[in-house]
């Protein structure tokens, strides 16, 4: 799948790793914050009903 990277293998793969790490971090952070917001709204709606 990945072509022979030759002497650039370490540079290319470490760039992939950094990019993947930061992208996954961004997505996880966004999903967690979204879940928190949803929970906060559910709680506020329940509190509003009572």
């Amino acid at each position: 799948m990945i072509p022979d990277l030759g002497k650039y293998a370490a540079d290319v793969l470490s760039a992939y790793a950094v990019a993947l790490l930061l992208l996954v971090g961004l997505v996880v952070l966004s999903v967690r914050q979204a879940a928190k917001a949803r929970a906060a709204l559910t709680q506020a709606e329940q509190q509003d009903k009572t």
Binding site: D11, A34, A44, D48
Partner: protein, 141 residues
Amino acid sequence: MTLIALFTGAIWGKPMWGTYWAWDPRLTSFMILFVFYLGYLALWQAVEDDDTAADLTSILCMVGSVFALLSRYAVNLWNQGLHQGATLTATERSPIDASYYYPLLISIAGFVLLFFTLVLLRTRMHIRLRRAKALLARSNA
């Protein structure tokens, strides 16, 4: 995303140009863009009232959008530097090999989709937070 580009560009720059960093037009304009984004986030966090923060950051965003354009066209505006000219253009056939061209197009499409997904996700999050805040304010009134 800007941070990813700066980091991975530096890693790739070392074997290609022999340095992690140079004051090349695109690198410099991208660094300015990154600092602008940090300033945008800092301003958003610094203002306590959400509505005031939204107003101020929207003005800053309009002013700062020039940095995004500057970064995009830096290689066209200033010829000197390490980066080559645009690889993908609407008028000319791309000079890069097909084994790189198609993965590049797929990657661009993937990033655009990720960008819109995150924008929608975070927009919905902010709407929910504002609604929760309004409900709590009404309950406590």
